[in-house]
Amino acid sequence: MIDISGVSYAIGKAQILKDVSLHIPCGQITALIGPNGAGKSTLLNLMSGQEPLQTGTVSVDALHIGQTRPRDLALKMAVVAQHVGVASRLRVRDLISFGRWPHNQGRPTAADHTMIAQALDRFDLNALADRFLDEVSGGQRQRAFVAMAYAQDTDWLLLDEPLNNLDLRHASRLMAELHRLAREQDKSIVIVLHDLNYAVAWADHVVAMKNGALAFEGATQKVTNAENLSALYDTDVRLVQTEDEVFVAHHR
């Protein structure tokens, strides 16, 4: 469980997060939603220790962020940031093998190679394995970064808008893959999503942020209703129920 308690964050005079407290459950997919600038990335960066905490505390299972050795934290959770840099001279396979760094500190074993091969398989990257990162498309690069986080083989996976740039097939495949990881390997996944349809379809738990504060949170079926979502985005949002699926409609 990730336990966030009383977290506030300011950059200069701008208050980015205001007293956020919440629990994120284990073994599930938690979708982090909210309008642009709501503070989702900031919250994720604080949870992963990328930015130092100003007030409040965050703990991941038994580890306290800010008091845990970087390596222990890297064995506990993997992060894919919203804006991934383009390191040239790096092949997709090399990038993924960096995911094994916390385990092997640069001295790969047979187990590491197995894990890298698995990551290439799962995220449909075999054909791209030997391409350079600056010679693949944005979506392909994004998948490579997710595969690297997967190769890190941690209990927690934090992904900031991983569906950006992904086509329909790969977006659905990625969500299905994450779902399988949560079900079969009991991984806990926190994912920032913009397309509410993916949130409704795949997330077990939803955390909604607005203006740096928690808007609502809870089990997906309970909290994703037209009223909550409309208020969250200040836009008319309708939920359309078909036989076995729920769609979020907001285009007109």
Binding site: S48, G49, Q50, R69, P70, R71, D72, L73, A74, L75, A78, V79, A81, V84, G85, V86, A87, S88, R89, L90, D94, F98, G99, W101, P102, Q105, G106, R107, F132, Q152
Partner: protein, 314 residues
Amino acid sequence: MPDRWFLILLGALVAASALFLTWGLSTRIWFILELRLVKLAGLITVGIAVGIATMLFQTLSGNRILTPAIMGFDALFLLVQTSLVFFIGGFGFVQLPGPVVFGINTAVMMVAAVTLFGALLHNNRRDIQLMILVGVIFGLLFRSLTSFMQRLIDPSEFAIVQGTMFAQFGGINRVELLTSVCLLLPLLVWIWRQCPVLDTMALGRDPARSLGVPYDGLQFRLLCAIAALVSIATALVGPITFLGLLVSSLTYSLMRSHRHALLLPTSAAMAALILVFGQTVFEQVLDLQSTLSIVIEFAGGLLFLFLLARGKLQ
């Protein structure tokens, strides 16, 4: 097979060294050979220091156009050297043994470099335009302060700092060379052991940190290492602004690898080769004294402008 290029460069370096030692050798063979050996060792030491310092700095700053020399590291070393003579010269500083003076210079240089450049790398890692601007301003500032102080310096002390404003491959001092090599060897061992972690640092600060790399601490130590390498090169031959850029561009274009275990030795061999080969051709074969540094600066400067114009900054 990227190792191939390293072996080719190494072979070329050995050939160039042999040529350098033996070209036109007729009278007083042992005497001249000894002189040339010292010079050769100096050139190779400088090459290794410049090549490696440049690659390390480019990994830390996440781009391929900025080098320690362009950012004003060399100028900073000259400033430190001159101000030490200026401020404490009167207290017998200049009478201290050469290695001690060099050690103090290097230590002060490390502190100054980490203070000035550490903050810059930390806050604006990806803002290359700003870094270039800061580098140009630092370079100008350090150089003007240095020449200002040199004018005020006591003439007897001036001899110490004189002639260090431009690169000279002619007179390499034996004591300085020995001191430099003694500092360089342990540095190289340490840097060699950082190669795998340098590969992860090249991903950038945030990704490296999320892999559990203690980035900030390592960056601090690597900046110290860069400062020491620049001190070695600058103390031996003076500032060479564009050699590093020339070397790193050639290295990157020869090998598309991200592995520092390959990149660092290759750039070191490349830099040493340029210096030794250039010195052989320009000063022994063509008998054009002290033109090598001009040629390097000219070629490197053109390359710098070309890279800037192409906007290929990453």
